[in-house]
Symmetry: C2
Subunit: 213 residues, 2 copies
C-alpha cells in the first residue's frame, strides 16, 4: 500500500457540531482536541513521517472573542497533549501579535519529545499572505519558493484531509499544497472516527503521483 | 442563484480519453478544443465575468515530443477560436523559452475581441514557481501577494472545475486558488457536456463564502 509521507489536517466543523449538539459555537473547539490526538496515534501507527494541523489563522481572530479564546485554548491544549508522546513538534505562525499564544513560543523551533520520530506541525495564528511575504525579502536566484517562506520547515504535503464537507483549502499552506491530493469528509471534526482516516488512506492509495509532470 | 465571478477550468483527461477511444495519447488534445469553446459560451450566457483555462505547464513540456506538439497546437487553436467571439483574452506564462508558442505572444497583454466583455485567461507554459518568483523582486511593504506575481492580472477564483477525476490543483494558480471552491468531475475533458457545467454551478450555489473569516 502506498502511504503518504505527509498528511495535512483541516479540522473544520467544530462550530456547526456545537450548534447541532445544542451548545454555543465556542463550545465546539474543546471537542476537537481528542480527535487530534487520535489522528496523531493513527499516523504514528501507519508510519506517516509528518503531520500538519491547521490550527487557526490571522483571519479567524476576527471572530467573536469567546470563540477566539476557545479556539486558542484548544490549540494550546492540543500541542501540550502531544508533548507526552514520541514526536517532534513545530509551531508556525505570526508571533508578532498578542493573538499568538505565549505558551506556544517555545515550539516555534522544532522540539523533540520522548523518542521523537514523527514530525507534527501546528499552524497557529497563520496567514498565507504572512507566510509568502517573506519572499519579498529574498534576493535568491534559486528558482524554488519553499526555502524562502516562513513555513520552510514544513515539507510538501501528499494528502490533505478536510472534515466538515467544504471543498476548499481556505488559505492552508498554498506552497506545500500545490500537488496535494485532497480528500473531503462530510462529518464534522469532533465526530472524527478512525474509519475517516482509513477511508482517506484507501482513496490516496488509488491515486497516481505525477507532481505536475 | 449565486453565480461565481471567476471560474477556473482544469481540462484533464485528454490522454486517458484517447487511450479509451483507441487513439494514441497525443490525439486526445485536439478533442479538447471544442469543449473549451462550449464552456466559454455557457459562461457568457450565465454572465460569468472571468474564465481561466489551465493550458499547459513548464513541467508538461517534459512529455514525449509528439504529445508536446499536440497540446501546444491545441492551445493555440483554442485561443484563436475565441478571437472570433466577444471577449478579452490574456495569455500568462513564461515567454522566455522556445516552448512558448510565438503565435500567442500578442496575447500576453489583454486583447479585446468583438464587443469584449468576459475576460478569458489561458495559462500557457505556466509554472507556479515561475509565477511566484517575481515576489523576490518586490521591495513592497504592502502585505498583499497578488499584485507582485506574474499572474497579477488574473483575479481571485471562486470556483475551480476539474475534469478527469483527480482531486488536486497540480500547480494551478496557487495564489488565486487559496479560497476557491473545488468541484471535480470524473469524466474526461473531451467528453464535456453542459450538464457538467450546470452541476458545478448548482453545487457552488450551495456553498457559503467565508474567504478565510
Amino acid at each position: 500500500m502506498r502511504i503518504p509521507n505527509h498528511i495535512g489536517i483541516i479540522p473544520d466543523g467544530n462550530r456547526r457540531w456545537a450548534l447541532l449538539n445544542n451548545l454555543t459555537k465556542d463550545k465546539g473547539y474543546e471537542h476537537g482536541i481528542n480527535p487530534g490526538l487520535e489522528v496523531f496515534k493513527l499516523c504514528q501507527k501507519e508510519n506517516i513521517k509528518e503531520l500538519t494541523f491547521y490550527g487557526f489563522t490571522i483571519d479567524n481572530t476576527k471572530r467573536p472573542s469567546e470563540q477566539k479564546l476557545a479556539f486558542i485554548q484548544a490549540c494550546i491544549d492540543s500541542v501540550m497533549l502531544l508533548t507526552k508522546e514520541d514526536c517532534e513538534i513545530l509551531v508556525i505562525g505570526n508571533t508578532e501579535s498578542s493573538a499568538f499564544p505565549k505558551a506556544l513560543i517555545p515550539f516555534t523551533t522544532r522540539k523533540k519529545f520522548g523518542n521523537g520520530g514523527i514530525k507534527v506541525n501546528f499552524l497557529i495564528h497563520y496567514g498565507w499572505e504572512w507566510d509568502l511575504n517573506l519572499l519579498k525579502e529574498s534576493k535568491s536566484s534559486n528558482k524554488h519558493i519553499l526555502p524562502y517562506i516562513h513555513s520552510e520547515d514544513i515539507s510538501r504535503i501528499d494528502l490533505i484531509i478536510r472534515w466538515g464537507g467544504r471543498r476548499r483549502l481556505s488559505g492552508f499552506l498554498p506552497i506545500q499544497s500545490v500537488y496535494s491530493d485532497f480528500y473531503v469528509i462530510d462529518t464534522y471534526w469532533p465526530d472524527f472516527t478512525s474509519t475517516d482516516f482509513y477511508n482517506a488512506l484507501d482513496w490516496y492509495n488509488e491515486q497516481d503521483v505525477t507532481l505536475g509532470g
